[in-house]
Symmetry: C2
Subunit: 197 residues, 2 copies
DNA sequence: CCTTGAAATGAACACGTGTTCAGATAAAAC
DNA sequence: GTTTTATCTGAACACGTGTTCATTTCAAGG
């Protein structure tokens, strides 16, 4: 019986996911073959099927893991945040940027490879994404109700803020003109003005 | 000699590009075969090579055409706009939304398939994109110089506004809750506040 | 030391890939 | 009516695809 401590399989699964993640992000899901992934892990293609039922599920699991990490991290922070909508919005803004910058491959895949999911898997990922968006939308609505925010349409402001924040991933490079702290501050300034009364 | 008026080839080239555009947008460049494109046009795969040297160039031409349309449309409007930065920014905002919403397939491809371009073709497309971004950045800098805008960093505000505006394409559907005019107005409101002094 | 069984191999399957090209087709040019 | 010529076909090439599975490997359990 394997799968006791230190068994090979305990380490191969994650290695496969890491290889697939990096290759999918670099070349795209459709352009990466199971043989390429296997080669990166140092194994024959057939061996991958001890860890995943098929290529599509491999992609789905990567996306799902990412979205669940995102949601649970958000919930953790929401629990410690106070009731002030402005403080909650600042926390959301800064955390979104930092979380996404730390996971460029996962973020890239989660946005670009949605169309390679089966309809059922797509629905699953989409519902996780909607849950995350609802976090922000709730903050905005609470702020509007409390009279501290003025947004023309909370639903659309949610889309706008998330698109704006996620856009950081397309241009930010560590060691560039601005530190991550500065980027956070600049975006928070823009978001704050965007919702300002 | 063909290629006089009404020749077959005058109409087949555009038909191929339209079919490729739609298929690339739906399934992704790597997942679409030359035989699928040919099938959509009603022709054998070999015939495509009378119109394009290869699949990669077909993608490049679609992207290039789109980016050049975007830039020349922008230049046309910039020529008639006045000197008031606020009016120029409003025009940019509304025009960006409308132009992009009218071309969802082109926009999708231009964002998602960059990694399938050769380095030379990628550089070409990127330089067109930078030129477009510079249009907005110039408006923002002029507004800051004139004292009518306050943005923490014009370069980053450019990225932020473009990401925010292009995000409309991910959720807007004709016949939904909001008309395109309303969407334009809502986004202009948010952009205006974002750069407000 | 022998048994057990999870994990890896490597070949095979059936089919799809981008691209090429000799030959057929048919419409325009003269 | 004949020649010219752009266009299209259909087969071929060399190789890559995801996935399966009988067989081998080899470390842990007893």
């Amino acid at each position: 019986m394997a799968r006791t401590q230190g068994s090979h399989s305990d380490i191969t699964g994650p290695r496969i996911r890491r290889a697939a993640l990096s290759l999918f992000a670099r070349h795209g899901f459709a352009a990466v073959s199971m043989r390429q992934i296997a080669g990166e892990v140092g194994v024959q293609a057939g061996a991958l099927y001890n860890y995943t039922p098929d290529k599509q599920t491999l992609l789905y699991q990567l996306m799902r893991e990412h979205m669940e990490d995102l949601l649970s991290a958000r919930e953790t922070r929401a629990a410690v945040a106070g009731a002030d909508p402005l403080a909650r919005l600042e926390d959301f803004t800064r955390h979104h940027i930092r979380f996404h910058i730390e996971r460029p491959d996962e973020v890239f895949i989660a946005y670009m490879e949605l169309r390679n999911l089966t309809p059922e898997n797509f629905a699953e990922i989409e519902s996780l994404r909607r849950a995350y968006e609802t976090e922000l939308e709730t903050i905005l609505r609470d702020g509007v109700d409390a009279g501290v925010f003025t947004v023309p349409d909370p639903r659309i402001a949610t889309y706008a803020v998330i698109a704006m924040l996620t856009g950081v991933n397309t241009w930010y490079r560590a060691g560039g003109r601005l530190s991550l702290d500065e980027v956070e501050a600049i975006y928070w300034d823009m978001v704050r003005k965007l919702v300002m009364v």
